[in-house]
């Protein structure tokens, strides 16, 4: 299978950068986007695309938009979808975890308050059997584990080993033999460490990466962890020993400023990550997982509509930049479609030709 490079559609509607992208759980029909305009949008990319833009000043119509979830008071930074697709959770600048009902577009619960995070929450994921837990990590250097089932407002666990902001978490679902990391909670922190909390063994293993960790992804078998760092390289680490399996780097690839999600694609054949060092059109760099060579550089067209001019601190108009900060592969890396979104607020869906 060749890498899907064809633009299937573009999803519009966000007024501002898209910070989070999530496919709905299998069969991954829908895409959820979390935007800095404080709302979460649910798209169906298989719907017909909007008509071609005639007036460049007019914002494109979001024909694929199904639902907008707005309750956040700040930007949305991460979204996680439950496996039964009935609920999802989102986090952002407001210091609580929003647990949503998909159909009614209302929050079922909000985890926060006195025992909650004391700063912005960067990341969220479902965990435990039947997605009964939510693991959130935030700027307050703590990971908090929330119980969805009980009515307790307090987190059931507080992991505060990290020395700096938590940028990403991973958690197992508690089903299986445990070899795929089903009983583990992983947290990546800006202090350059990936901490693996093994629930069964009661141990925490700290792997020093050496650079601020911005993204975590796990291979299907749970043996490898894809660690994105702020030194313009993505590492595939061995979960068991902590050894380095592969480093994904490229001369034209730069990531030392933003949190760039990276992911596996095509049954872990490829590693994808957005590139910072680009202009008005974004770029996604694709590596071959095994060889570590760059397979593709996909150009992601930025929004056609004239956006607001951005003025930098020096008072000059900044060049428009479309940094693709988040990528997501359909069906957790198994499907034949992937999407990416970035600072232009446009989500581009790629598929097979």
């Amino acid at each position: 299978m060749a890498f899907p490079t064809k633009v299937v559609t573009q999803l519009y509607g966000s007024i501002g950068p898209v910070h989070a992208l999530a496919y709905s759980s299998s069969p991954s029909t829908y895409i959820l986007t979390g935007s800095s305009d404080r709302s979460i949008r649910l798209y169906n990319p298989s719907r017909p695309s909007p008509p071609p833009i005639t007036n460049p000043l007019e914002p494109p119509k979001a024909t694929q938009l199904i639902q907008t979830y707005s309750a956040h008071g700040y930007e949305v930074l991460d979204i996680t979808v439950a496996r039964d697709n009935a609920t999802f959770a989102s986090v952002g600048g407001d210091r609580s975890v929003f647990y949503w009902d998909v159909s009614t577009a209302k929050t079922i619960r909000r985890f926060g308050g006195n025992q909650g995070h004391t700063a912005r929450i960067n990341t969220i994921t479902f965990a435990g059997t039947g997605d009964c837990l939510l693991v959130s990590g935030g700027f307050d250097t703590s990971v908090r584990i929330w119980d969805v089932k009980s009515n307790n407002a307090k987190p059931i666990m507080l992991l505060d080993e990290a020395g700096d902001s938590i940028s990403c978490v991973l958690a197992g679902n508690g089903e299986g033999n445990g070899k795929g990391g089903e009983y583990e909670v992983l947290s990546g922190s800006v202090d350059g460490r990936v901490r693996t909390y093994d629930v069964r063994m009661g141990k925490v293993e700290t792997d020093v990466v050496g650079t601020s960790v911005t993204s975590l992804a796990r291979t299907r078998d749970g043996k490898g962890v894809l660690v994105g760092g702020l030194d313009s390289s993505i590492r595939l680490m061995d979960r068991d020993t902590g050894g380095l399996l592969k480093t994904y780097k490229h001369d034209g690839f730069k990531n030392d400023e933003f949190r760039m999600w990276s992911c596996f694609g095509g049954n872990e054949r490829w590693v994808l990550c957005g590139n910072e060092d680009v202009g008005a059109d974004g770029q996604v760099v694709v590596w071959d997982t095994l060889t570590g060579n760059v397979e593709e550089k996909i150009t992601v067209e930025g929004a056609k509509a004239e956006g607001k001019k951005k003025i930098g601190r020096d008072g000059k108009v900044k060049d428009r930049q479309n940094v693709v900060s988040c990528v997501a592969w359909k069906q957790e890396g198994r499907g034949n479609q992937w999407c990416c979104g970035g600072t232009d607020g446009v989500v581009t869906v790629f598929g097979v030709a």
């Binding site: 059997t129 837990l133 059931i156 508690g174 350059g192 009661g202 141990k203 925490v204 050496g210 050894g243």
Partner: protein, 705 residues
Amino acid sequence: MSGKRSRATYESDLQAQQSPFVTYGTPLPPFDPEVRDDGSYVPVWKQEVRDERGLKRLHGAFTGGFSAGYFNTVGSKEGWTPSTFVSSRTNRKKDAEKAPQQRPEDFMDDEDRADAEDAQRVQTAEGFSGLGSTEEDAARRGALIDLFRVEGETIGVKLLKKMGWKEGQGIGPKVRRSARLGGNEQVGDDPDATHLFAPENTNMISFTKKNDHKGLGYEGEARLSGNGNSIAAHKSEDEEEAGDRTALVATKKQTKKKAARGGIGIGILNDTGSDDEDPYEIGPRISYNKVIGGDKKKKKFVNGSANPSLKSKPVFISKKAALEKASKGFRKCRDGRLPLDGFILSSIDEFSELTLSDGKYAPLEIPEGWKSSKQAKPGSESTNFISTADAAKLSSLDPKARAAILGEAALPGKSVFDFLSPAAREKLASASGKSNLPLALGEIPKGYNMTEEERHKELLAQVPRVDRATAEAALSRGASGFMPYGEDEAKRSRYRNYLENQAGIRSSPLERSGGFSKNDWLKELQEFANCAQIFKPMSGMMATRFTSSTSAPKVASDASELSAGPALLSKPEPKPEDPAEQAAKLGMYGPMTRSSKDWYPTRLLCKRFNVQPPSHVQPGSTEHAEGDMPRNMAPDLVSKTAIDEMMMQGIRNQNFASANIQAPEPVIKKEEIVIDTEKNEALEGQRAGEAVFKAIFGDDSDDDD
């Protein structure tokens, strides 16, 4: 619609709507409680303030609670207008003027006012009204009471009247004088015209009978109340005791006034008999003139002074003026006392008149042609007088010559000129313009007549001393990092030289470098001495208790510089990097970058993950965050993780040896710098004994309790 309906419109509308059939009278209020009913009774607390358009005047927070005036009526049509604040600071009197002047009428009720009105009724004076009047009796009595102790017109008066005498006139032949019209002269009148007038009435002089044993002129306490009053008091006393003996006509008015209203001491029998005076009348004691032409003394209400208790406006009188005034009236006698009452000190001084008055005692006139025998002799005038100073000036002898003439021994001291060089003398001479200055000898004084060596020695003796220990301490402090004058390398080296000299390290004497004057040099050395005192390290007790942690010159680069001088700044030792970080930097991921620790998931978490809790999690441990605190961990001296770390480091070091990788470390540079990479001093070092801590930080008193 242009706006709100006016109130009248509203009311008419209301009536038309609610009670359309009422033609006469005021309709009853509408039965519907919703409809606003104007005119019906509303409890006070429900009443609202409305303006003339029927709109609520007060809204929101201002409708309740505090009420200004009668239910927030202040400032409205119904309420009073609050006066605006006027600061009395700058314009004090403005307010006072506005304050209404209180009049007696303000305190009178209607009855009083009617009485007052009655009292003011115009009437003819009794004297004119007809015979039988006794009103004027008092006056008549006053004039001739002493002569004729008879009531009514005596025969004498009758006789006098027949002779043309009229009451009020004096007795005697007529006097020719100009008319005294009291300033009312008419224009046509000749001011010089004289007419015949009856003589003025001479007042009867009364003598007060002295029937006490007090001294002449003694007034008793009456004197306290002032001079003028005392006379009045006298008179009133007289009048009261005698009742009929009044000597001075001037008091007539006073008596009359007294009689006008019932006063203390005047009974009903003293009543003059006029009908309109009720002796028992109780009322304000206000007297009005009841006679036309009676001279009315105007009451002065407005006296202009802010203080109503003051009768007159206070006027500033300067001390000088007051003294002058006082000296006019009350000049004191020679013995310092005031003159006797009634006497005035004479303004003419007899003695001064004796001596100074012109003409009276003029000096004797010198007879013509008289000559004094004490005239100067004509011969003495020829010699010119020359003062000693002038004479000295004229003399050309210098002190030495004079001394020689006098045969004195030469003075041991020397003149300034002895030490002046000839050039300097020339300069002086040209400046002063004198040519007779003594010769410049160009001598060199004894103290300055030294060899170079001697001079240097003396200079060195002036160098400030620092004791050896201090100098050494300051030097060592400098060596271990800090030395002053970091910004001036030359000065710093001089400072070091000085210290070394003082410490005895350097035997060679201090050298004064070229650019310095002697004073500057000494000044700088003094500064160095002070500096050494300040910058010497902790000494004594403190020094024995503490040791400095690390010394900078152990760093290789500094060690080589030591001969040249200690470093300007002690370089901070690089923070020992986490070996795991180093390993990660080198890409040596694996056991070196991984560390493991016990973690205590809560039971609920384990339950949610559908696993058995790990064995080391206590079955009774709490479900929440506090559970992750290790409770079964003994406080090991070297923790397990530390041992792990040590082992890891061991592995790493082997790797270094085998792979021959040069880590960018400052550690392996020189042999003399020994940093034990195997050992983390801070972590693994032996904890000092309790006694040591006590010795340093302990308080003796602590041991007692």
